[in-house]
Every structure is written in C-alpha cells, then in structure tokens.
C-alpha cells in the first residue's frame, strides 16, 4: 500500500505548496486573492459535506449550518464585543450543539426522507435568520462584521488585509481537510463507509449505527460552522440568502464533479468549479447555463469525477507497457 501512499503525499504536498505560494504567483492581485479565499471556503464546505456523504447521505442543511457558525460569530462580535478569535469557537460550539440536537431525529430518517428532512432543516435555519429581525437582522442581514486583528508582542496582523486573510483561511481549511482525511482513513472512517454500504450489515458486526451517524454529522457541522465564521468576517456582511439551499446544492455539484470516493474529490471539485464559476462571471446572464453545460459534460466525459484522473492516466501507461 505504500506505493499508493507516496504519489498521494506528493500530490497533497504540491497542492499545499501551490496554495502557499498562490498570492506571490498572482502578484498579490486583490481580485485573484479574493478568488483564492472563496476557493478555500468552498473546499471546506464540500469536504465537510463529503464527510456526511461517507455515511451515505447528502445533507441539504449544510449551508444552513455554515450560516449558524457565521451568525453566531457575527453576533458575538456585535452583542458581546468579542472578536472573531472568540466568535469562531463559539460559532463552532453553537453549530455542533445544534447539529447534535437536530441529528437525533434527523439521523433516524433514511435515503430520500433524509434529503427532504435535511432540506427542511436548512430552510428553517434560513427562515429563522429572516424572521427574528431584532436579533438576526431579518432579510437585511448583519453588516459591519469586522475581520479580526492578531496582536502579537511585536507585530500586529490586521486581517482586513486580503493576503493576510487568505493565509488565515488557508490555515483553517487545511486543518479541516486534514481532520476529515484522518477521520476517514481511521477505524471511524471504515465504520462510516460500512454504514454507507449497508446499515444492517454494519449493525451485525456490532456497530452502533445511530450513534456513529450522530457523531459524524455533529463533527461535520462543527467544522463547517468554523468555515461560516471565517466567511462572515471576510465578507463583513451576511444575510439569510448567503446560506440558502443553493449553496448546499453547489457544494453537492462540487462533490459530483470532483468525485465521491476520496477526500481528494471534493477538494478537486471545489477548486476547479470555483475557478470555472469565476471565469464564467464575465458571461453575466449566461453564467448559470454555461455552468450547467460544464456540469453535464464532466459527468458524461468523466464519470467518477476528477479524482479518477490519476487512475486513468496510470491505466493508459499500463496499457502502453503491455504492447
């Protein structure tokens, strides 16, 4: 198995290196740095959604939970006057607690019922932000969510600076991907995939299916809550519409185009499609149509997603060597 591990490590290392050097490569261009930050958020959203997928279900409440983290952190800043360094963790905890509570009934549903129930949860979260105007700001949302300042002894890093924020986002997204990757390759991940394939069989090997589902969902939502907080303090403005069902659906598209069987799938899907989306932005009105064409083309031409590309290349070389 080590001969598979090595190329994987090289690929992840190369990706991280490119990500680290990206602002220098683009010459600190503000727009391209912004795209980099959006890519980071989308990678975190898709990767944590993929973690839930390892149980065999897709949660349409995922963007909603990202919103919970975002609103919690924004409110910690505005009502308590505490910076994102506190809001981030409080947001994650609120998100985790809510996910734990909701998953108790939610994880008793299966397949299509889960999709519908999770869709409803996402919608209810969004509507609550809109309904409680005094607290959440209604449809107008919350403005002026200041980015944090890191005050070290000698240096002060103001994250209003885009390049600084890029590295902050990169740090947290890398940690998120790493956590998901490690869990997935551990015994816990093996259990998740067993549940994914067949719940009853998993139970017959002594696995407490329900408990693992609840824990998995809670961890994934906690991680996306952190992403939500980072999102809020970057955009400095959030509204219920920032976290609607479309955001979950775009994350799902990232998964499908990237691939569903390894953590490389959502990462590759989120990076490539965010770039495609930005390129298409110039086409204005036709953007969504082009996006749809890209989606259909990738499903037809590359079944299994971007994650299958290394395997396909290897297969071509092996075929040649047999000639």
């Amino acid at each position: 198995m080590t001969e598979i591990d090595l190329p994987h490590r090289i690929a992840w290392g190369a990706l991280l290196l490119v990500a680290l050097l990206a602002p220098i490569i683009v010459g600190f261009d503000p727009y391209l740095t912004h795209v980099g930050i959006i890519i980071a958020f989308n990678v975190a959203l898709a990767t944590t959604l993929w973690m839930i997928w390892s149980l065999g279900v897709i949660s349409f409440a995922h963007a909603g939970f990202m919103g919970v983290g975002a609103y919690a952190s924004a409110l910690v800043l505005h009502k308590l006057g505490l910076s994102m360094w506190f809001g981030l963790w409080i947001g994650a905890m609120v998100c985790g607690a809510l996910a734990l509570f909701i998953s108790l009934p939610l994880m008793r549903t299966r397949a299509v019922y889960f999709f519908m129930a999770s869709w409803a949860v996402g919608e209810v979260i969004k509507r609550n932000f809109a309904y409680f105007k005094d607290f959440f700001g209604g449809w107008d949302g919350i403005f002026d969510i200041k980015p944090p300042v890191l005050d070290l002894m000698f240096v002060q890093i103001d994250f209003a600076n885009r390049t600084a924020y890029y590295y902050l986002a990169l740090l947290f997204v890398s940690l998120t991907v790493w956590v998901v990757y490690r869990i997935n390759s551990s015994r816990t991940g093996m259990i998740y995939w067993a549940i994914h394939e067949n719940e009853l069989l998993a139970a017959h090997t002594g696995i407490n299916v329900f408990r693992h589902k609840v824990i998995c969902f809670t961890i994934a939502c906690t991680l996306v809550g952190i992403t939500g907080a980072l999102y809020a303090h970057y955009q400095t403005y959030i509204s219920p519409k920032s976290f609607d069902i479309w955001k979950s659906e775009f994350a799902l598209v990232h998964l499908i185009v990237g691939g569903l069987t390894t953590v490389g799938g959502p990462v590759a899907g989120a990076i490539s499609l965010t770039i495609v989306d930005e390129v298409l932005r110039a086409s204005g009105y036709f953007r969504t149509i082009f996006f749809g064409v890209v989606l259909i083309a990738s499903v037809l031409l590359l079944p299994g997603g971007l994650e299958t590309i290394p395997r396909r290349i290897r297969a071509i070389f092996q075929r040649d060597s047999h000639k």
Partner: protein, 249 residues
C-alpha cells in the same frame, strides 16, 4: 449435557393473521451444531431474525449466555457474540476481504483510542483480520473486493467475520445455498471444525449436509417446532418424514 449457550422459550411473532413463529422452544448447547429444518415458509428465517434482533418479538424470551437479550438491538447482540450470516450475503461488496474482516475486528476492539490513526498501517487490526482469513482459507484473496469473489468464497468470508467478532454462537442461514458439490464439501468440513469454536444454529435445506453435520435437529412447520432431538432420531421420525422429508421416501 453441557449448559445451553442460547435458550429460546415460547417465542412468537405475528404478521397480521399469520403466526410466523408459534411458541418456539429451542436450546443450543456448547460444542454442538443444531440444525433447523422445515419447508419454505415454515418460519426459519423469521426465527433467525428474531434471535439476531432484526425482528422484535411479540412474546417469549431469548437468553444468550445466561442473559436475557430479548430487548437488545442487533448491534448490542452482535457485540455479545451472536454471530450471524445471512440468507443472501452479509459481506460488504465494495470492501476487500481483509477490510471486511478488519471491520469486525475493530468492532471487538473499539475505536476509542484510535479515533484518528490510519487503518492502513494498524497492525493490531490487520494481523487478527489476516489470521481469521487464514483460518477459513482465504489468505491469498485478502486484497480482493468481496464483490469479485465467488459465492463459496463469500460464504467463507462471512465465517471469517463471525470468527473475528469472537462469536459465542453462530447463526447460519442457508450457508450451502447456491454452492456446487465441491463448495458444499469444503464448507461442511469448515463448519464441523467451527463447532469447536462456538456452537452453530444452522438453517439448511441440503439434507446430506444437515445429517452429516448436525448433532441435534429441530423441525419447524408453520411456525411450530413439530419435532426436536438427536439427528438420528429425527431421521427416523415418521411425522417428520411425512411432513418434510418427502412422504413415503
């Protein structure tokens, strides 16, 4: 006689007007193979599902290792050591043979301390899993996906899983179904060794296999046990012959 590992008393299950199991009493003792035979629809699979916890029980009790497990779920019973194989197949097709067994091994060991470490280099997981594959003669197929294995191999893999779960009793639902003569012979040999690991409750239609393996046979008809006893007696029993073994044969 040794003590009963599994004791079933007055077990009933009703589906609407149909009594699928009707006041079933059964004992499985250490070291024995207890065969459960009967025509299609006699309630054999229902009974197996009640014992493993897939189906709830309307009345009666199931005692396993001296403990009442009637109200426990499937996973809890499996952790106590009730190992079951299915009528269809109880392996995860997308997993390799080794990974299928590893899943069972980790279920015995628990995840608590290894929440975060990779399974690929986890020797405490791979080695016991491999040992069990060797025991059922599948060592050279460890890396093969279960989906690509032959029917007979999958049956043996199921038994490796049950072994890895450290089963205190095996519930085997038609393990011979769909096997050729060679496969049946190999599995018969394996099962006769397996009884020394843990007793087996065996549902099987292959009468040659049943009477060459079983120490004890119970005959189920319309949800009722109509006869139960040592294999030789059951073979001679007149009511059983008319009911099941083919009339005047």
């Amino acid at each position: 006689m040794t003590e009963a590992v599994l004791e079933i008393a007055g077990l009933c299950k009703r589906f609407g007007a149909l009594l699928a199991t009707d006041n079933v009493n059964l004992e499985l003792r250490a070291g024995e193979i207890h065969a459960l035979i009967g025509p299609n629809g006699a309630g054999k699979t229902t009974l197996m599902q009640q014992i493993s916890g897939v189906l709830s029980t309307d009345s009666g009790s199931i005692r396993f290792l001296g403990r009442d497990v009637s109200n426990l779920g499937v996973a809890a019973r499996a952790r106590l050591g009730l190992g079951r194989t299915f009528q269809i197949s109880s392996v995860i097709p997308e997993f390799s043979a080794l990974r299928n067994v590893m899943l069972a091994v980790q279920s015995r060991q628990g995840t608590s301390m290894r929440f975060f470490s990779s399974t690929r280099s986890d020797r405490s997981l791979i080695e016991p899993a491999m040992e069990n594959l060797v025991r059922v003669g599948l060592a050279d197929r460890a890396a093969t996906a279960a989906a690509e294995m032959s029917h007979g191999e999958r049956r043996r893999l199921e038994i490796a899983i049950a072994l890895a779960l450290d089963a205190k009793a095996f519930l085997l639902d038609e393990p011979m179904a769909g096997l050729g003569p060679e496969g049946t012979k190999a599995l018969t040999n394996l099962l006769s060794e397996l009884r020394n690991v843990a007793p087996i409750l065996l549902v099987e239609h292959d009468m040659d296999a049943v009477f060459s393996l079983a120490d004890c046979v119970s005959v189920l008809m319309s949800g009722r046990v109509i006869a139960s006893g040592p294999a030789d007696e059951i073979r001679k029993d007149a009511t059983v012959r008319t009911a099941y073994l083919g009339g005047g044969a």
